[in-house]
C-alpha cells in the first residue's frame, strides 16, 4: 500500500557549513507512504544534517527538500504540517507530566481537541508504563523519554515521520517494542525516514536502506535486493574503504 508520489524527497541536496565542512554532497532520496527508509552511516556521515534540512532548521547549500510535494525552504510552515520528528535524544519539559507534554505537542501539531483517553492510548501504544503517564518527565529514564517522543510523533498523525537514531540508548526490549510500533505506522501508510547505526534493525525494518559516507549516499538497496546480499558485509566494506575526499 505504498503511495506513488514520494512523501519525503531530497533532490540534489547539499550542505556546506560555514566552517567549510561539506556535510552533505548531492543527496537524492525518496520515501513513499508505507515505506521505511533507513539511513545507515557512521558518526559524522551527514544523517542528522539531512534531517535538519527536512525540518528547515538549516538552509541547504544546493537542492531542495520536499514534504508532500511542498518545498520545505519556500513554505516551511505548510511543509511541517505533514511531518513528525523524533530527535536523537528526546528531551521534554521536565516539570510537566507525560500527558502534559503530549498535550502541548499535540496542540502544536494541529490536534487541539484530544481527550485524556486518547493520550493514554498513544502512550500505551508505545508501551510506556501506565503509572508514568501522570509523572513528571524529569523522573523519566532515557528509554521512557524516547517512547514519549515517539508517541508525540504518532499523535501528530503526519504523513511523514523523521527519526534521528531513535533506538540509540534503548534496551533490547524497548527497541523490540519500538520496531513493532514502526511496523504499525508503516502499515498505516506513513513515510518513515530513520537514521541509525543499527544494521540489523535496518535490515529487518527497512524497505530501503541507504548507506551514507562523508555526506554521500554511497549505496542504496531495497528489501528484495538485500535478501540476496549481506548488508553487514557491504556496510563494513564501505566503512573500511578509503576516504572519499582526497
Amino acid at each position: 500500500m505504498t503511495t506513488l508520489q514520494p512523501i519525503l524527497k531530497a533532490d540534489d541536496l547539499s550542505k556546506r557549513y560555514e566552517d567549510g565542512v561539506l556535510a552533505l554532497d548531492h543527496l537524492n532520496l525518496e520515501v513513499r507512504g508505507g515505506e521505511v527508509y533507513c539511513l545507515l552511516g557512521a558518526n559524522g556521515a551527514g544523517k542528522t544534517t539531512t534531517i535538519n534540512l527536512f525540518l528547515n532548521f538549516i538552509p541547504p547549500t544546493t537542492g531542495t527538500c520536499f514534504i508532500k510535494g511542498i518545498d520545505v525552504n519556500k513554505d516551511p510552515l505548510e511543509a511541517k504540517k505533514y511531518v513528525a520528528f523524533v530527535s536523537e535524544n528526546v528531551m521534554l519539559y521536565g516539570n510537566f507530566t507525560a500527558r502534559q507534554n503530549l498535550d502541548f505537542f499535540a496542540k502544536l501539531g494541529g490536534k487541539p481537541n484530544l481527550t485524556k483517553e486518547q493520550y493514554y492510548q498513544v502512550m500505551r501504544r508505545v508501551s510506556l508504563q501506565e503509572k508514568a503517564f501522570e509523572q513528571r518527565v524529569k523522573t523519566y529514564s532515557k528509554g521512557m523519554r524516547q517512547k514519549l517522543g515517539i508517541s508525540i510523533a504518532i499523535i501528530k498523525d503526519a504523513a511523514g515521520i523523521l527519526l534521528d537514531e531513535p533506538t540509540s540508548g534503548l534496551d533490547p526490549k524497548a527497541a523490540e517494542e519500538f520496531q513493532e510500533t514502526l511496523a504499525e505506522l508503516k502499515g498505516e501508510g506513513k513515510a518513515i525516514l530513520m537514521s541509525t547505526h543499527d544494521i540489523f534493525r535496518a535490515k529487518e525494518i527497512g524497505d530501503r536502506v541507504g548507506i551514507m559516507k562523508e555526506g554521500r549516499l554511497v549505496m542504496e538497496r531495497t528489501r528484495e535486493e538485500l535478501q540476496y546480499e549481506d548488508l553487514v558485509k557491504i556496510y563494513i566494506d564501505y566503512m573500511k574503504s578509503e576516504p572519499l575526499t582526497a
Binding site: N52, F96, G109, G149
Partner: protein
C-alpha cells in the same frame, strides 16, 4: 498557537521553584518595607503636627514646616533626608530646609546621590528586576540546550509566535508579581490610621505601578534578547547578572560622581565672599542706620530704612543662593544625562516624581517659601512700620504650598517614560531578530 505557547509558559513558570521563591521573597519584602515605612511616616506626621501645634506666637520669626509626603511610604526618595523646616524672617530668605527643630541640619542641601532605603521602589528596582532576570534568562537558551526548541519548531509554528507567546507569558508572571506586591503595600498603607489617600494620590500610585511595569518590561526584554543571543543558559545568566550590576548599581552612581567631579560647585567660602560683595554698596549705610536705630532713634523713617536695608540684603543674598541653586540643578541635569540609558536611574527619577519625594519637590517647596517671603510675609512686615495697630491686630498670613497636579508630573516624566519605552521596544526588536536567526539545532 500563541495561546498554546502562552499557557504552557505560564504553567512552567508557576511550577518553577525560582518563581515561587522569588514571589514569596517579593511579598515578604513588600510587607516588611511597607510596615516599617508606614510607621516611620506616621511618626514623622506626628512630629509635623506637634511642631505645627507648638509654634511660638511670633509674628516676625515664622517657622514653616514641610509635611511628610504620604507616598514616601512607597518611594522614600529625598523626603526624609532633605530637611523639612524653614525659618523665615526679614533678615533671611531660607536657601535650604533643616530638620525639625533644627535637630538635623543639612549642610549640602542637594545631595545628588541616588538611591534611598528599602521601599517599594527598591523592591521593583532591585529585587523584581533580578527576579525578571532569573525568570527570563533561560527562556530561549534552556530550550535550545535541552532540544525542546527543535521539537516545537518541527511543527507549523512560526518562530515569532513562539517568541511572542513566551514574552507575553513571562511578562504576565512578572507583572502579576508586581501587582501583588503593590496591592499588599497599598493595603498596608490604607489600614494605617495615619494614612489618608486622596483621589490624586490614587492616580499617582497607579502611575507609579505603571512606571514599575515599564521598567520591569525593559529588563524582561533585555533578558529575552540575551537568552536568544547566546548558546547556553549559564552564559545568559552570567551576562545578564553583569549587565544588571552595571545598569542598576554602577552606571547610575557613575553618572553622579562624574557630574560631581567635573561640574564644580562654589565652596561655602566663595559663597560667603559673593554675598559680602553683593551687599557691599549698602554696607556703610546699613552700619549707620543700625547705629542710629540702636542708639535710640526709633523714628519711623529710621526704622523703615533699617528694615528696607535688611530685607534688601536678604534679597541680594538670595540671588547669590539662587545662582548656586542653578548650578546645582545644572550638575543634577548632567548626572541625569549621563545616566540617561540606565533604566534604574530613569525609573527612580520617574517614581520619585510621582511620589513627590524628588529634589524637584524640595525645590518647589523652597520656591513657595521664597514666594511667600517676597509677597505675603513682606507685605505684612511693612505694616509694622506703616500701621502698627493694624499689624498688631492682623494674623500672620498663612503659608501656602500648592500640590503639583498629576498631569504636570506626567508631563515632567514624559521624556523618561519615552526612553524606557524605547529601550523595551529596541530590546524586543533585537530579541526577535536574534531569535528569528537563531540556529535552533
Amino acid at each position: 498557537m500563541i495561546g498554546v505557547i502562552y499557557k504552557r509558559e505560564i504553567l512552567d513558570h508557576l511550577k518553577s521553584a525560582k518563581f515561587l521563591i522569588g514571589f514569596c521573597l517579593t511579598l515578604a519584602i513588600a510587607v516588611a518595607a511597607t510596615v516599617i515605612n508606614v510607621q516611620d511616616y506616621g511618626r514623622r506626621l506626628q512630629d509635623y503636627r506637634a511642631a505645627q501645634r507648638d509654634l511660638p506666637a511670633n509674628k516676625f520669626d515664622i517657622q514653616i514646616f514641610r509635611p511628610p509626603e504620604v507616598l514616601s511610604v512607597l518611594v522614600q526618595g529625598k523626603d526624609r533626608t532633605l530637611g523639612n523646616k524653614a525659618s523665615v524672617n526679614y533678615m533671611n530668605i531660607p536657601d535650604r530646609l533643616t530638620g525639625y527643630m533644627s535637630e538635623r541640619s543639612t549642610p549640602r542641601p542637594k545631595s545628588l546621590s541616588g538611591f534611598g532605603s528599602v521601599d517599594f521602589a527598591f523592591l521593583v528596582r532591585v529585587v523584581l528586576s533580578l527576579l525578571v532576570i532569573f525568570l527570563a534568562y533561560d527562556a530561549v537558551a534552556e530550550e535550545k540546550q535541552s532540544g525542546t526548541l527543535k521539537l516545537a519548531l518541527a511543527n507549523a509554528l512560526p518562530r515569532s509566535s513562539l517568541l511572542i507567546g513566551k514574552a507575553a507569558a513571562g511578562l504576565t508572571v512578572v507583572l502579576g508579581s508586581l501587582l501583588a506586591a503593590a496591592a499588599v503595600a497599598v493595603l498596608i498603607m490604607m489600614v494605617h490610621p495615619a494614612v489618608d489617600l486622596s483621589g490624586a494620590d490614587a492616580a499617582r500610585i497607579l502611575s507609579l505601578v505603571a512606571a514599575s511595569a515599564l521598567y520591569l518590561t525593559v529588563f524582561y526584554m533585555l533578558s529575552l534578547l540575551v537568552s536568544a543571543a547566546v548558546k547556553r543558559p549559564a552564559t545568559a545568566l552570567m551576562v545578564l547578572l553583569q549587565l544588571w550590576i552595571f545598569l542598576v548599581v554602577v552606571y547610575p552612581n557613575l553618572g553622579v560622581s562624574i557630574a560631581e567631579n567635573f561640574y564644580k560647585l562654589p565652596t561655602d567660602r566663595e559663597m560667603a565672599e559673593k554675598k559680602v560683595a553683593a551687599f557691599a554698596p549698602y554696607g556703610d549705610e546699613l552700619k549707620k542706620v543700625q547705629a542710629a536705630y540702636f542708639g535710640g532713634d526709633r523714628s519711623q523713617p529710621t526704622g523703615m530704612r533699617y528694615f528696607e536695608l535688611q530685607s534688601l540684603r536678604s534679597r541680594l543674598w538670595n540671588d547669590v543662593d539662587r545662582e548656586l541653586s542653578l548650578r546645582l540643578s545644572g550638575q543634577l541635569e548632567r548626572a541625569r544625562w549621563i545616566s540617561i540609558l540606565s533604566p534604574a536611574a530613569l525609573f527612580n527619577r520617574v517614581v520619585e516624581r510621582y511620589a513627590r519625594t524628588d529634589i524637584e519637590e524640595y525645590d518647589r517647596f523652597l520656591a513657595s517659601v521664597e514666594r511667600y517671603w517676597k509677597t505675603k510675609y513682606m507685605d505684612f512686615q511693612v505694616l509694622f512700620y506703616k500701621d502698627l495697630p493694624a499689624y498688631r491686630k492682623a494674623a500672620t498670613p498663612p503659608f501656602e504650598h500648592p500640590a503639583e497636579g498629576t498631569s504636570e508630573a506626567w508631563a515632567a516624566t514624559a521624556p523618561q517614560i519615552v526612553v524606557l519605552a524605547l529601550l523595551a521596544l529596541i530590546f524586543f526588536a533585537a530579541a526577535s531578530t536574534a531569535f528569528l536567526r537563531k540556529d535552533v539545532r
